[in-house]
Symmetry: C2
Subunit: 256 residues, 2 copies
DNA sequence: CTGTTAGCGCTTTCAT
DNA sequence: ATGAAAGCGCTAACAG
């Protein structure tokens, strides 16, 4: 792989375009801006022409520095390993790009503190941050990404952050009901990492709903959503006293 | 979601750190640089302390503008929908981040010309670009991302780009051999988008190897790697003259 | 509407 | 080893 060389030839800047079009740099900036800025029709056309001839490309860094904003959104996840992630991320990427922005996917992994993780790596000024990882809190993300547009999807929102929470109780109720209809008297619950607020809520919902419906939750097994852990847990279920039903708190609803 | 407000409070800059540490901004820059720059031990410590107290975070945009490089790598893909993508992208993201860089995933979708796609969106100065999408060529990527570090994984490399190609002939030979061992005389080949160079190479390899081994390739069916297309193609295979073996050029090797 | 002038925050000569 | 100063490329504020 070729090593870091400085760019081969300098790229044309706004000044080059300005010179070629015979206008001031500011005019170029306005003419090329997506917003409607005051520029005479004639100069705008000269600028567009010059820019095209020069193969001019805006430097997002310079723009970002000047406007204090970058057209990027940070997507903060633990990892991308679940089947359901496929259904999630592809449309998400598409949507973000349709907005003219790019997505930086921050994979936090199992780092307990996202701050530790990012301390030495760059913390971007992003347009927005979407937080799926349960390791991140709203204030920390705002600080790290220099943005007030944080959307918390992990339940850890605060007054200043937007959030989406899903009422999973309905689905859980449905699952339990269905199990009961099939004659289940006892059940086991396979859970994921319990530090997740959303996961805690799910578990509590299962307990409450099962209790209310008269289904005896005889076992709670903790995994980490991975196929491997699921397999291991499955083996660990006592064959003799097999519960009638097994519920999983995984993100994807298999019966959906 | 809160709308675009200017950042609530100004973030501390290198100047703030310098003031608090009683040194020049340049010293702060050197002290905080990952590389070993000449700074007296004592001042370095003062700087580090001041930075910590202020909660200083470097602004990557300013750094990028000054150094003409950003610690990001662009990953250019068609989309993320295959099961095998999970196995690929999660470790890839992890590896990229372990290098202290962030990954921007550019989802080209079905856009025929990546340039069209990116014309209006920002073209980043990235440290490197990894190209999986078969819609992108080396020169275009170098230009768009202002980087000479392009790694072509789609077969469309040129003299200046790094590349990785996989010798799939071995695997194909193995697959054909296995089919023959099981008594197959005829076979069908399910292919993907034929504009991909890699795909073309695979198809040719199947043809050559089957011909050489005496297995009669009676059908070639073109899909697009999606489950849906696979299903449709499966239905289209004539039940009466069912071939003995069916080969797929999909990226994931099901028998691996 | 247009051009000039300041910066944005950081790195980097270049003197000291 | 240190600091002053000059930019990186762009946008925004201010005069014309």
């Amino acid at each position: 792989m070729p090593e870091d060389k400085p760019a081969r030839r300098k790229r044309p800047t706004i000044a080059d375009v300005a010179k070629r079009a015979g206008v001031a740099p500011a005019i170029v900036s306005r003419a090329l801006s997506p917003e409607r800025r005051p520029v005479s029709r004639e100069k705008r056309e000269r600028v567009l022409k010059a820019a095209a001839e020069l193969g001019y490309n805006q430097n997002p860094l310079a723009r970002g520095l000047a406007t204090n904003s970058l057209d990027m959104v940070a997507v903060i996840v633990n990892h991308i390993t679940d089947l359901s992630d496929l259904d999630l991320f592809d449309p998400l990427l598409e949507a973000i790009q349709a907005l003219g922005k790019q997505a930086v996917i921050i994979r936090v992994g199992n780092t307990e503190k996202i701050e530790d993780f990012l301390r030495n790596s760059a913390a971007f000024h992003v347009h927005a941050a979407l937080v799926f990882s349960d390791f991140a809190d709203a204030e920390g993300v705002r600080t790290l990404f220099h943005s007030d547009n944080v959307l918390m999807l992990n339940g850890r929102f605060d007054a200043k952050s937007a959030y989406i929470t899903i009422d999973e109780a309905a689905g859980i109720r449905e699952a339990v009901t269905r199990a009961l209809e099939r004659g289940a008297k006892t059940g086991a619950l396979v859970t994921g990492r319990q530090t997740s607020l959303i996961e805690q809520a799910r578990i509590q919902a299962y307990r409450d709903i099962c209790a209310g419906a008269g289904l005896d939750l005889v076992q709670e097994l903790q995994g980490d959503y991975s196929y491997a852990s699921g397999l291991a847990l499955a083996r660990s279920i006592d064959g003799a006293s097999l519960p009638d039903a097994i519920f999983c708190t995984s993100d994807a609803w298999p019966w959906a």
